[in-house]
């Protein structure tokens, strides 16, 4: 129908309307009025069908076998995933008790026989009582085509203090073994976790678990190098302990306490690799669900809801389900 013709029909309708204000319409007028209405309806219906047929989202809905389609914009998923990750990891406190780290090395010296290994040292650090608190920053989040929301979350570790046990051992080798005794030192010291930031990189895998959509954390590398330090008085205690071995029969001079303390400081600065417990990473459910039963008035109808698929499309999370009436629950007494 041309635009001009539609205008004429509209004008005709108005004219017919005015005429009807003064006289009761006869059957012919009624028939003509209905015929005009049908024409208008047919024209509009055709135009709508054309518009719908050209729309990509509508085409996808009509091609879907599901009786219920739920589509969620990627922007909303990203906002939810990011906010949940941030708020969740913003208030985490982890007890590091029993976290261990170790280092070892060998000391060589020049002798008249050439360069000779005089001994091996080992240090074991055992956190006795230290708790860290995490605060999360603003995450970078992006929905990927493989049903995953990639997350990069900066996490601030707050400064905290506690007890750290250090065990140092010296094992003399070769000729030094003849004159130098092995020794062990164990000290209970005050240590602290330095304020620091790490970035946790991983993903939230989108899935469907029965009637709900889930975000399952996938963080393969859960270890962070936690920078720790001893209090100044504790460093002094370590150094003093090593110097107590600086006697002729214990070969403390070979060990060179200053050098060893410097090595321990390097170890602390490098960080103790601490694994964030797996139980931190828990499944979250998206707020859209499919129901297995609905109410029609006061009657409950049980359904069999079967997922027809879950996929990430450009800018969309798309899921659909077929639902069949299983049985009508008996009315409430």
């Amino acid at each position: 129908m041309t635009r001009c013709r539609r205008w004429w029909i509209a004008a005709g309708l108005f004219a017919a309307g005015f005429a009807g204000c003064h006289t009761a319409p006869g059957p012919e007028v009624e028939a003509a009025r209905l015929a005009s209405l049908h024409k208008i309806y047919d024209d509009l219906h055709g135009r709508l069908e054309k518009a719908v047929a050209e729309d990509a989202l509508a085409k996808r809905v009509f091609a879907d076998r599901g009786q219920v389609v739920v589509a969620i914009r990627s922007g909303l998923i990203e906002e939810l995933a990011g906010t949940v990750a941030q708020r969740y990891l913003d208030r985490v406190s982890i007890d590091l008790t029993s976290v261990e780290a170790s280092d070892e090395g060998a000391i060589h010296t020049n002798t008249f026989l050439g360069k000779m290994k005089v001994g091996e040292w080992a240090v074991d650090i055992d956190i006795a009582d230290l708790r860290i608190s995490l605060e999360a920053g603003k995450p970078k989040v992006s929905l990927r085509a493989d049903d995953r929301v990639e997350v990069e979350l900066p996490v601030d570790v707050k400064e905290s203090e506690g007890r750290i046990g250090i065990h140092f051992s010296w094992n003399s080798k070769s000729l030094a073994n003849l004159v130098c005794k092995d020794f062990d030192l164990t000290r209970d010291l005050r240590g602290r976790v330095l304020p620091q930031q790490h970035v946790l990189s991983g993903a939230l895998r989108i899935g469907s678990a029965g009637d709900s959509f889930t975000l399952t954390p996938v963080f393969p590398d859960r270890k962070i190098p936690l920078k720790v330090d001893l209090t100044p008085s504790s460093w002094a205690a370590v150094e003093a302990a090593l110097r107590t071995q600086n006697t002729a029969d214990r070969c403390g001079t070979l060990i060179k306490p200053d050098n060893l303390v410097a090595r321990l400081r390097e170890l602390a600065a490098k960080g103790v690799r601490v694994g964030i417990p797996e139980s931190v990473f828990r499944v979250a459910r998206l707020p859209a669900h499919l129901e297995q039963a609905v109410k029609i008035g006061d009657r409950t109808v049980d359904l069999t809801v079967k997922s027809e698929g879950l996929m990430v499309l450009p800018q969309l999370l798309w899921t659909s389900a077929s639902a069949h009436v299983r049985e009508l629950a008996p009315p409430a007494p």
Binding site: I40, V70, P287, A288, V301
Partner: protein
């Protein structure tokens, strides 16, 4: 623009009279669909018909029909002295109207006679239950067809039955129709407390509401607006 003029013409044509006649159900339906089509086409021309920002839920008419049929027969008093028994239901979601047709019998209290009736309604409200978040629809009556209604033995039986159903009668009989989709207004992860780990609970409040409903192609298209709400005081960072 032309669509709007045509629609206005159609509305004028129907409602121009001084004395409102008893308009047939099919004509009422035609006028309402024409109105709705005008609105849908205007939205399509502005590319906003299928545009949504948060969540889109599409429900097929066959599912709603199955749900309605599962509760038939359905009977009860609908007011005005009428008693209605619904024996079957049909749905047709097209051209802007989600039509629900309920076929059955109507009778008047104290009288044995009954008449076959078809109640035409349309889903005109789609909302999320404020507590459960379940999506539910309400049906409004826009017309009743009755064969041999004069057998009911009351004056203007169709008009009176229509009034009774419109004024709460259908709600008494049918109530609201839930569809199997729930959109919650919160996302929660419970707290975790163990020897090694302490994690506070997360309770993310969401502002969710049905924003718009379109009906076409045998489906109900429900746009749901969803946004993260402000954090409650307990959600704030620790001091």
């Amino acid at each position: 623009m032309t669509a709007a003029v045509l629609t206005l013409g159609a509305i004028w044509l129907l409602f121009k009279r001084k004395e409102p006649p008893l308009v047939s159900v099919s004509e009422t339906l035609l006028v309402r669909q024409t109105q709705e089509l005008g609105r849908l086409i205007a939205a399509a021309e502005q590319k906003s018909l299928f545009d949504f920002g948060g969540i889109l839920v599409v429900v097929d008419q066959a599912l709603v029909q199955d749900l309605l049929r599962s509760v038939t027969p359905l009977e009860g008093d609908v007011g005005g002295g009428f008693h209605v028994r619904v024996e079957s239901a049909e749905t047709s979601f097209a051209d802007g109207l989600a039509i629900v047709r309920l076929d059955g019998k109507a009778s008047v209290a104290g009288k044995a006679a009954s008449a076959d009736v078809s109640v035409y309604g349309a889903i005109d409200v789609v909302e999320l239950d404020s507590t459960s978040g379940v999506m539910k629809c309400r049906v409004s009556v826009f017309g009743v067809d009755a064969a041999h209604a004069d057998m009911l033995g009351v004056d203007e039986p169709v008009r009176r039955l229509t009034e009774a159903l419109t004024q709460g009668g259908l709600a008494l009989l049918l109530g609201s129709i839930e569809v199997p989709v729930r959109i919650e207004n919160r996302l929660s992860i419970p707290a975790l407390e163990s020897h090694r780990l302490r994690i506070a609970s997360v309770d993310l409040r969401l502002q969710v509401a049905v924003e718009d409903v379109n009906v076409l192609g045998g489906k109900l298209w429900v746009r749901v607006k969803a946004a993260i709400g402000p954090s409650p005081a307990a959600e704030q960072r620790r001091p």
